[in-house]
Every structure is written in C-alpha cells, then in structure tokens.
Symmetry: C4
Subunit: 250 residues, 4 copies
C-alpha cells in the first residue's frame, strides 16, 4: 500500500483550481488552506494515506488517535468564480520517493475532477523579514508568471523545496498551469502574518472574498494539530524524535 | 516480494477482535500476546514475511534457523465471547514504509475474517514507574475511548510510535474501531509486570478468563526468543549490529 | 509513479546510437550532449521523471519553475550515418534503485526505436590533468573495445560510477554493444576542454561533423542550468542543501 | 525493474540441491561456489540483476565493462547423485529489501527446477582461528541439523547475516530443507583454507568428488574479480567508495 486513497464523493466541479496547503516553512500554506476550508465551508471528499508518512499515531486531548494524512476538500463557488479543490494535511512525505508519489496521486485526483490550474503556497525562510513581507512567485508558463507578478509578487530565485515546488514542476509536465506563492517568513510558526499575505494574493487572483478576521483562530487550531503531530520543533528535536521511533527496539 | 503471506487455514470466526503483540517498548505487547496464545491455545493460521524485516537468520540452541516473521493466531471463544485474532512476531519492520505495509496486510487479513475491532498494546517509557503503573489509552472513536477509560485507563498524551499506533490510526481510516493500551514501563525487558496490567485490561474488556500464574514462564520464553533475534540490547549495541550486517562486505 | 514517461513523437530511426549525457564528474557528458543537441538540431521526443529525483522545483530568472528531468532527443543523419538518440537531463537519480530504474526505462525506449549501440560519456577525476587530457574507454565486447582503443583511448581501470557505467553494464546484459568514454578532468565544472575531447572521440567514431566553436556558449548554458539545479557545489554544500530540504519540517 | 531475470536454458534437473556462493565474510562461499562451477563444469543458465545492486560498472584489464550480477549454474550428476544449482555472483544487495527480493527470486527459480534442498555457505569471523578451523551449521529442521552435525560441524550460535542466513530462513518458510555451513575465518580474503573446509563438508554431504588441488587458482581468480568490484577493502575504504559514488554530483 504505497498510497491508499479513499474518495467519499464525486462532486461536479467547474474548472476547479487546486490549492496546496501542506505543513511547510512557517506553516504558511497549512494555515492558509485550513482558513479557506473553514471560511468557505469546503467539504472533504478524499483522504490519502501514504506509507511514506511517519509510522505513529498522534493523540488528541480527548483520547482520539489520528494518523498522518492528506485530505482533499472541495468548495463550489457561490459567484461565477471557479470551484476550488483544497489540499490539506498534517504532514509531507518522509522521502523524495514518497513526495513524488503523493503529488502524483493528488494530481491524478484533481485532474479526474477537471482541474487544469494549481496554486501552491510556501514560506520563504529569511533571517530577517520586513514589516510588509516580500512575496515571490514562480509559474509553469509565461502567461501565468505575468499574472502572478501583476498581483505584486516578485520573481522567486532559488529552489522551491518540497511539495510546493514539486506540485508546480510535476503539474507543468502534465500540462497544467499554475504558480507557487512564497512569502518571506522567519519560520516562526505558525506565521499568521505570512499566511495572511498568501491568502490576500490568492483571493485577489481567484476573486475570492475571504474573511481574515478569524485567522488567528485558525492558526491556533493549526498549532494544536501540529504540536500533536510533533511538527513544531526544531531539526535537533526532530532527530531526537527519530531516535524515539527506535524505542520499540530497546 | 515486499510482503509474503501464507494462510494455512481459513477459520470461521465470530466477530473477531484483533490483538496486536509485536516486540516494542518493554516488550509488553509481545509477552501479553504470547501469553494469550499459550493460555487460550490459539492456533496459528497465517505467516507474514516482509522484505522490510532484517536480513539474517537467528539460530536456536539446537541448530535451528529462523527468520524474522509475523504470525496470526486465532482463538475461538468457549463462552459466548468474541473470537480473537492474535498478531504475534519477533520483529517490527525496519522502515516506515515497511511498517505501513505490514499493518496494511494484517488489516487485510483480519478484515477478510470479519474483524471490525482491534486492540494494540504498548509500553510507555518512563524514567520512573509507580508500584502500580499508570495505564493509558487512545481510541478510534468517542464510544471506544469512553469504554477504555471506564476500564481504568487514562487519556494518552503524545505519540504512539510504531505498530501499536499505526494499527489504530490506519484501522480507523478503514472504519474499524479499537483502542491502544499503553502501560508505564522503565523499558526493562521483558517487563512482566506491565504485561500483566495490559492483560488485565484486555481480559476485563473482552470478558476473558486468562490464568496469569505462568506469565513468568512466558516472559522467559520471550526473552530467549528476543535474545536470539538480537532485540534485547540498547540502541548503541543496535548500531554495532548494523555494522556487523556489513560484515559480508568486510 | 516510480518513473513517468511521456513520449511525444515516435520517430522512424535508422539503427540509432544512444548517447548518454547526464550531469556527472566535470559535467563532461552534460556539455557534450547539449552541444550535440544544439548543433545537430536534435528534437526532443520523450521526457522521463523519476520519483528518485530530488523533490523540488528549480526556478528560472524569468519566474519559470522546472523539475528534475531526463529528456530524449533524436537526430536523423543528413549523411548515410546512423541516427542518434541523445539522453540529456539535469540530474541523476538519488538512489541506486532509481539509477537502475532510470537506465532500464531509457534502454526500454531506445530499444523500442531500434537502438543496438550506446555510448556513455564521463569525466575521470584526477588531481592533475595533462594539457592534453588522457581519454579512457571500457566496452561491452572485444570488437567494440578494439574500435574504442583505435580512436586513441586507453583501457579504463577501475569503476565507472553512476549512469555512465550502469548504462554500459546493463546494456551489455540486454545484448546491446557500446562503450564508455571517460576524459581526465579536475572536476572543475563545467570542464569545456574535457567535453571537447569527448566530442572529438564520439564524432570520429560516428563520422559526425560537429562545429565545436560554440562549445563555450553551451558550457555557459549548462552552468546556468546546473546552478539553478544546485549541482555546482561541493559535497559539503550538498549536505547543507539536504538539510534545507528538511526545512519544511522546521 | 527491481529484479531482472534472464533464463537462458531450462535444464531437466534431478532433485537438485541449491548451493549459495555469494561474496561474504572471508569470501568462503564465493571461492567454494566458483570452484564447484569450474571443477564440475557447471553451466550458466540464468542471470539476475537487481536494482538493489551498486550502480557502477567494473572494468576488466582488457577494457570490458561488467555489472554487479547474480548467476545460476547447473551441473548434472555423473553418478546417481543429485544435480546441483550453484548460485554465484559478485555482490550481495545493498539493502535488506534487495536481499529479500534477491533470495525470493532465486528460490522461485530453484523451485521451478524442482529444488527442495539448499546449502548456504559463509565465513564466521573470528579474531583468532585454530589451525583446523571450527565449522558450524544451522538448519531448517531437526533431521537436517542432525545430518549436518554428523558431518563434523558444531551448532551455530548467533546470527547468520546476509544471504547465507536469509536463504535458509526464507527457504524454510517455503518448506524447503537445508543448512548453512559456516567456517571460522579471520576474514582475510580470499580465505582459501576456509573454503577448502566448506567444500569438504559439502562434498561429503553430497557425495561429490571434487579435486581441490586447483583451489588456489580459483581463489586468485576470485581475488581479481573482487578487486574489480571493489569488494576487497575494509569498511573504512567502503565508506570512501560511497563518497566516490557521489562524485557525479560534484
């Protein structure tokens, strides 16, 4: 079972845009995606579990046990805008192999529901961030990068690591268009401010009207979720956790 | 051959409960599962070998050679209780990929025999343990966690590493219910006392009448088995062993 | 999706020779292959993406996002020479597993188009290189090694690492013939001079008439490409980059 | 292509015994197997390449390029003895996953040709070896261990790492019988003396009449082969080689 997919519902979607929101630098994407899900009352229609996720269960304060997972939500537009597919989750895959596979499966599903355009979100780690953080973009094609730059972004220089980069790169090879939005962040997480700027860009692009007043509430929920999944810790602690995974061996 | 499964017998089981008992912290699950197998005269009906197990043979004192393996036993209830499927083995998988695959295969088999409920067992490593060790649980759903807490367990806080956590998390995604029982342990192995408490909780939940007087005998057998498989050693020694695996390379 | 292959066009090729030109030591192969593509106006007919490539997108100076990729080009001979299939790309695979798979897929495609002969190119890292660098070869069979030695190469002693070696070795097992050309290089990259010598050998062998006057232009383009993909850095920096890949984890 | 198998010929074999002889500690198995192949004029009938082998080509002194490979030879008995399948190669797999897969494939083939019994050979690394080295065995079953002990072997205590152990363990799970022969060795390679003792045991068991006078010649050939494949070096040098594999990245 490299990747197990369960699709609950097969919604009819109108030219949907895939928005990626997995945990990453500053958790910018994660906050933005969850906020869209909450505010737009997006509905979960698919779950994906990969054997490249971590092998543990996280617990909730009420005794629940939850696995690392990716989820897809859809949201039908109330106006004449395009529908959305929002990709939310509590982890990325542990290996590059797993990352490719995960992106491949999500693109398979998105394309099945008619998706031809994707937006990935990320934080761009900086040692210092100006009060108004810089926002960067990279795109699959010249028309899209022009649109992204017109939104006030700058050209991204360097690598876009992880799912945010992989999605755009692999989508391009499937002839999808799209762009990545990367917001300067100290990597302090969850970086609500960076998420706010990412959401502003995306809303402007898609003509969405998203209330940002409850963004702090979303960020607090993300924080609880991320702490449960052990994602809010530095790399050193991450190493320590890996050793703990060895604990069954002791 | 990522996972090779051999099913010897296809027993008719009555709403069976899957009990997980692989080696882990304090070997609590391993002792408990073997004791159930011995006392309930459970019958082996399936063997699973994974290419994510270690690549060696362990030897017995009489010159036997045995591989790392997972085994499934069944036990039909003498009363009107539910039947059991007991998952026993001498290793977990070496990679997260292997862990997911192993759990997936075992759930496949268990579901094939009608299983809808699972109990995983583990040790919860503590630096100090009170004379009566604390017992924790986490469950797939609210009804089950309530039942588990009513047995005298506390809500588990933190991660449940390895198979014990993965089984509950992945089972939940397949709409199975169940809970994990985690008993405080110093990680001194085999921790007979912790296994005793785990068995008490499980017996109470399932209405089993299991004689615990020979638990020390079980623990001694586990110890011999684990020593043969090199599981009773600390992480530093584990590393040394890995180097030895390189020995064919000299 | 271990390997995703897209074949755009199915050219009719005349007994084509596969020329391998992936990034490697001194980027000798990479420069030589790109130069052949440019000068012979070779046409891209297939793309291969492997989940064993790195999981990021590289950006271009105009905001484009590109994935690690392998590409196959063909070039029909204007004379009565054999046609060419040129294997170009911006990465090798990260794992030996991925390397085998990548070579396997490329050989599958090449054989589908009638290829029975292959040439791989590489740099042979030396601490010092004479003004006229030594050129080495190793071949699948006695006839071919004789031909390669007649071109002025010496017998290669030692291992041929990575794709350059794997292609010849695995091709031989498929009963293809061919040889590897390895040119002494300090590993300073891109090593235009070494690429020039490799191209001279290959052109002589295949009767190609390739203008080398613009080789520096090719090398500059390779350099930009390689910098974008982070390949021009030493191993220490490579390690640093790996840590950065962990950045989504913070 | 996790494992590519080519079977050249489908010999009719009489109850054949599989003899494993891959490179390992002291190269005891490797020398013994090659000597049997030479002396008994065994014929190669199958080749196996695994993507878990190393990704390079080794060169020969005449400019040949060869891949890491496993080969199966058969030898029909001139007397009324059982036929042999001899498993020879120049490497083991790099990962436990690859080791399982390789053993699985070889057992598949051996069973296809009627094999029900297997003998694996290994060195048992000691810091000191007596003039007449001790020989150990472990077996799949009580009858076979008794036979092995009757040959003058002692009960093996501890793990049998790598293919030698895995073959016996996994064969047992397929209901094959067999035993491992492990000879004390300093790990100085190739250890001709240890190979001699291993061959003596095997010849005695199988009633073979094998001339050992040219064993030194065999060992010299193994040495050349192993040096070409970089197997004769210590672990520290092995690490250095791994770094070299990274050289294409420089």
């Amino acid at each position: 079972m490299p990747c197990t997919i369960e699709i609950y519902e097969k919604p009819q979607l109108n030219n949907p845009v895939l928005i990626e929101g997995l945990p990453g630098i500053g958790f910018v994407a994660n906050i933005a995606a969850l906020h869209l899900i909450n505010e737009l009352k997006a509905k979960r229609f698919a779950e994906i579990v990969s054997s490249s996720f971590q092998d543990f269960a996280a617990t909730t304060e009420t005794g629940g046990a939850r696995s690392p997972i990716s989820e897809l939500y859809y949201c039908k537009s109330k106006d004449d805008n395009r529908d959305l597919i929002i990709w939310y989750g509590n982890t990325q895959a542990l290996t590059t192999f797993g990352q490719y596979e995960l992106v491949g499966k999500v693109l398979d599903i998105a394309q099945e529901f008619g998706c031809r355009f994707m937006i990935s979100i990320g934080g761009y780690k900086k040692d210092e961030v100006t009060p108004i953080p810089a926002i960067y973009s990279a795109a699959t094609d010249q028309k899209t990068i022009k649109e992204a730059l017109d939104l006030g972004t700058k050209v991204m220089v360097g690598h876009i690591f992880g799912i945010a980069g992989l999605l755009i790169g692999l989508g391009r090879l499937r002839n999808l268009n799209g762009f990545a939005v990367l917001v300067d962040t100290l990597g302090m997480y969850p970086d609500v401010k960076a998420a706010r700027y990412a959401l502003a860009i995306i809303s402007k692009y898609l003509g969405l009207n998203v209330d940002l007043s409850r963004l702090d509430v979303t960020a607090d929920r993300i924080k609880i979720e991320l702490e449960a999944f052990g994602l809010i810790k530095d790399v050193a602690e991450e190493k320590k956790r890996e050793k703990q995974q060895m604990r069954w061996f002791i």
